[in-house]
């Protein structure tokens, strides 16, 4: 195999027009799915960044492996539901363990995170090699979905009207639940994020909100893994929030910017994937990185202008 780096010519008809004109079904559902994942993961990620816990998502994504293997060994099948449950339990368990280690020892939270997720991942690898060596069992094949396959999935219909492919609808439901919870507990979430002492004096339990956020995070991670794969989820937990927070300090404005940032991630990423004929998830992650770089440049210029006007 020869590895040549060749950039295909940018043909706007092929890259921009044809996907929408000739293959609207493929394009619409993949772009919508990318937008949903970027938006939902981005919203949860924004709070993680504010709480200096941005790497928790990465940690959970590794911690789910033993849960997957045990669910497989238990049920002897690769059915999605037990797999998701196993992953979810492992994810939540790892979060509790991280919390317990850093509270009951002098280990700092980030170190506790490193300890727990590498331990969980290692246990998962050992379980695979010990009990499941002769079968195809790896997260890539079992849990991780692929965003490109979204338009091929069966449609959900309500009263005879086709709503959309199942993964898109499931992701939309997770999104609605996250949005609903965020709406209900918005003030409490902000108070516990910025001023735990004040929150405690107001009778709010920062611990309860921490675990609540972690459970929501685990649900979002596992369900988006199942729909679109790992790279996209790990990227979208960080990039949308980081980009928004570069552009503004105000939390509400940052949240309001997320849908637009997510739309740019999804659209740019999709067309990048068509242009280079490569994987969609990777392209969306790259687009998110590019957008972050642009936001950074804007931020730098902004800061310079603000300084010189003083």
């Amino acid at each position: 195999m020869s590895a040549r780096l060749e950039i295909p010519a940018f043909d706007w008809l092929r890259v921009v027009v044809e996907p929408w004109a000739l293959y609207p079904e493929t394009t619409i559902w993949i772009v919508l799915m990318g937008w949903l994942v970027s938006l939902v993961c981005g919203a949860v990620g924004l709070f993680l960044i504010l709480r200096r816990m941005a790497m928790t998502g990465d940690a959970i994504s590794h911690s789910v492996l033993p849960g997957l293997v045990l669910a497989f060994l238990w049920t002897a099948s690769r059915a999605t539901l037990p797999m998701m449950l196993g992953a979810l339990i492992a994810g939540v368990l790892s979060v509790i363990l991280i919390e317990w280690i850093h509270r009951s020892s002098r280990v700092k939270p980030d170190a506790a995170m490193g300890i727990v997720f590498s331990l969980f991942f290692a246990v998962g690898v050992i379980l695979v090699t010990a009990y499941a060596d002769h079968i195809d069992l790896d997260a890539d094949c079992v849990l991780y979905g692929e965003i490109a396959y979204v338009p091929l999935e069966p449609m959900w219909a309500l009263a005879g009207i086709e709503l959309g492919p199942a993964p898109v609808m499931r992701m939309a439901m997770v999104g609605l639940i996250v949005a609903g919870l965020g709406f209900l507990f918005f003030k409490e979430l902000i108070t516990t994020s910025f001023d735990p002492v004040l929150a405690a004096s107001l009778g709010l339990s920062p611990k309860a909100f921490h675990y609540g956020l972690m459970i929501v995070l685990s649900v979002v991670i596992v369900s988006s893994f199942e729909a679109v794969g790992a790279i996209l989820v790990v990227a979208m937990l960080i990039f949308p929030g980081a980009t928004a927070l570069l552009l503004t300090h105000r939390l509400r404005l940052a949240l309001a910017l997320l849908p637009m940032i997510a739309a740019l991630h999804s659209l740019l990423g999709y067309h990048l994937a068509v242009w280079f004929d490569v994987t969609v998830a990777g392209s969306m992650a790259v687009a998110a990185g590019g957008l972050l770089a642009i936001a950074w440049a804007v931020y730098c210029i902004w800061a310079r202008v603000a300084r010189s006007s003083h």
């Binding site: 790896d138 094949c141 490109a148």
Partner: protein, 303 residues
């Protein structure tokens, strides 16, 4: 210019576009099977590129568009395509036929994993008599989709089955030359169990069935000891799987690498090889890739 073509395509009702059956095939072996049965009466698109491990395959948007437009999707099944097979099976609910060619073979011919009775070895194409059975399901489904060409499909299918039978006889005769103490085939991953059963060779795959896991150290040392103790003449790498573990065994034990075998993917089109006896074959086809494997093994293990 092309923008007008796009507009025309948009305005044309889909029934005017009805041409030959549009088939998509996953692995290169399945694609070769469908092309051989379909001939010029079927438009076949192969999804997984040559030399790519089916486990590692990631689709592009062009691949998805082929799947969206297909009338029928042929895949190997038995877990070869991993989770992609689940997606393909669900295509039936959208009205696209999804056919797992390996799953039409009666289970008593399949090699089951002792620990997991639900899990059969998917690499059935390495016994041409089994692969000949897979021909039947392709003929049947294509005939259902395009009854007007059913005779063509049946005729090609029968010729193909016959050619696989003679391929099997040729392979059996060639491999019979290997002396009993050398009848051991060590390869990168466990793709050759059916081959070993058909031609009476002991088969050791360093990585197990899935190509994703790494070979354990104990697996490697065990095989190295075995190779040294039994004076096995050669080990083999595969074109679509990492060769690191086999190279390691070759270095540690001093045994030579007998050549490169086609396991989960055929060769690249356009390459014509010659056997020592002057036989020409094209490794991008099933028959050519199989011949290459047999010739390579006989050359390395035979006297």
């Amino acid at each position: 210019m092309r923008i007008w073509l796009i507009f025309v395509a948009l305005l044309l009702p889909s029934f005017l576009l009805a041409g030959p059956v549009r088939a998509v095939a996953t692995s290169t072996f399945v694609a070769d099977l469908v092309r051989s049965v379909g001939g010029e009466d079927v438009e076949v698109v192969g999804l997984i590129p040559h030399g790519v491990d089916p486990h590692m395959f990631k689709p592009t948007i062009a691949d998805v568009n082929h799947l969206m437009r297909a009338d029928v999707v042929f895949f190997n099944g038995l877990g070869l395509e991993g989770r992609m097979a689940d997606v393909l099976r669900r295509l039936e609910r959208r009205g696209t036929r999804a056919v797992a060619v390996a799953e039409s073979i009666p289970t008593e011919y399949l090699l089951q994993d002792e620990d997991n009775p639900n899990q059969a070895d998917p690499h059935i194409w390495f016994d041409p008599r089994l692969w000949a059975r897979a021909v039947d399901s392709v003929v049947r489904v294509l005939s259902e989709l395009d009854a007007s060409n059913a005779e063509h499909f049946t005729a090609r299918g029968e010729a193909l089955s016959a050619s696989y039978e003679s391929l099997h006889e040729w392979a059996a005769a060639s491999l019979a030359k290997i002396p009993p103490e050398r009848r051991i085939l060590i390869t990168s991953h466990d793709a050759f169990q059916y081959f070993g059963r058909a031609y009476d060779l002991e088969v050791i795959g360093v990585q197990g069935i899935s190509t994703v896991g790494e070979a354990g150290l104990s697996d490697i040392t065990r095989i190295v000891d075995r190779v040294r103790g039994q004076s096995i003449p050669a080990v083999f790498v595969e074109t679509s799987v990492s060769s690191a573990a086999v190279r390691r065994i070759s270095q540690d034990s001093g045994v030579r690498i007998g050549g490169s075998l086609y396991s989960d993917s055929t060769g690249t089109p356009g390459e014509v090889l010659h056997s020592p006896t002057g036989m020409r074959y094209d490794p991008s086809t099933y028959t050519g890739a199989f011949r290459h494997n047999v010739l390579t093994i006989v050359d390395a293990l035979g006297l």
